[in-house]
Symmetry: C2
Subunit: 263 residues, 2 copies
């Protein structure tokens, strides 16, 4: 596993430093300076959706609570919160393991269906997070590639994408397009591939420790947001190179993660 500082060196530090470097004579005489720079483009951004671009985590949490209780399973709400962002199947298994109960495939399917129904009722309350539209617009204008990678299925992701006024050319990778959802790296690997960028040149942005674990496993740089309700220490401990409050806060600090076209 890469340490955070290794991550940093591999992916971003040289880029980030170029902007403030005092060039010595050797550098000044380097004939291919512009070429060399053009080989080090701004990083690409791979965004989680729920809790990162849209403010939907707490509604998802209460929708899972309702679905679980309908099946006669009482679980404290904070335990559900701490599992949000995983694939639905893993979430169900992890939660039930905590109360020492196993679930049949039929029950798991029913839980997933009931969660979707409960969430659909709460969905009208969900908004884009502050700065999400501005951040995505800025990246597009600066021609910095970005994509969305979510553990959600297309049916639940689609209304969230509408909140972001996404143009059709933006790649969106959903649960059904990969074998394994987070914390496996498949979603982010597929997102980088769809952009035609290297995963090692990519910044994964997410609100949960599962995003950051997936980022590490994919060898991408992980950046955390507080907007999903995790604390800063938890995100850092899970491997976040930097933690920002929300999309507005990242937009103001894009230079810290290696973007030359800062806001």
């Amino acid at each position: 596993m890469l340490s955070r500082s290794q991550h940093d060196e591999d992916n971003l530090a040289p880029e980030a430093c170029d902007g403030i470097a005092v060039l010595d004579e050797d550098d000044m005489n380097e004939p291919n300076l512009s070429n060399r720079n053009s080989q080090r483009p701004d990083p690409a951004f791979l965004f989680d959706l729920d809790g990162t671009l849209v403010d939907s985590v707490y509604q998802h949490v209460l929708a899972w609570r309702e679905a679980l209780e309908d099946l006669g399973i009482e679980l404290a709400v904070w335990r559900i919160h701490r599992r949000i962002g995983m694939s639905g199947g893993l979430l169900i298994n992890a939660l039930l393991r905590e109360i020492g109960r196993r679930v049949t495939q039929t029950e798991a399917d029913r839980l997933a269906r009931m969660h979707e129904e409960a969430y659909a009722r709460l969905r009208p309350q969900v908004r884009a997070l502050p700065g999400a539209l501005e951040l995505l617009t800025h990246l597009s204008r600066a021609e910095i590639p970005w994509a969305i990678a979510t553990s959600g299925r297309p049916a639940s992701a689609s209304p969230m994408l509408d909140l972001l006024h996404l143009s059709p050319e933006i790649p969106v990778i959903t649960r059904d397009q990969v074998e394994r959802a987070k914390p496996d790296p498949d979603l982010f690997l597929a997102a980088a591939k769809s952009l035609g960028v290297s995963i090692r040149q990519s910044v994964v942005v997410g609100d949960s420790v599962w995003d950051l674990l997936a980022a590490r496993r994919a060898s991408a740089l992980g950046v955390g947001f507080l907007s999903g309700g995790y604390g800063q220490d938890e995100l850092e401990a899970a491997g976040a190179y930097r933690v920002y409050q929300d999309p507005t806060d990242l937009l103001r600090h894009l230079d810290e993660v290696g973007v030359r076209s800062a806001y």
Copy 2:
């Protein structure tokens, strides 16, 4: 401000250590050993209510979100979560300061009323936290004094107390009985007074950093629960001597906070 280790020494370490101490000869010859011990009773417990004994934090959070939006104020849900447990007035002021808006007294009153209405709709979902009844029953049977101190008003606290099957002799201090709610220490000071115990002999148990700040200011020992959705590091940084998952977890570790009548 006391460091955590000082706290520990002042309040609990001698008690907690007695149970496992190997007495040397001097100790064996101490004539008033039993008397000395009887002067050091088990600590009293002062419990927060929402998020500590009942699983109501996430419903409170979404009720505040709804109330704020009705007033045309859009705030990300995690910011509301991080303020829960403060007095309602402080919460409103703190949230609005973050978006650079001031609120009139009329607006604040309306917000508080709308929060109460929205919460009343979500209240049927709220359950006692795992182990809450067992913990309180154990303390009562062991004749360890305990009380509840909540920033809530009697109208919203009363249905929560019903979930705990509280007998009428248990002191419950609500917002209206003190001048200032958490993070001021008034609620916990009043709770200790109602039990006739010293606040320095008391353990304050809460799920939010505001409980722990109030505990410090009251010179009580603070113990944190993860059941309100804060991370362990946040609670420790706010001064928690120990952090447990929930009431069940504390019940299993009562000896760690100085209780001889362990479960």
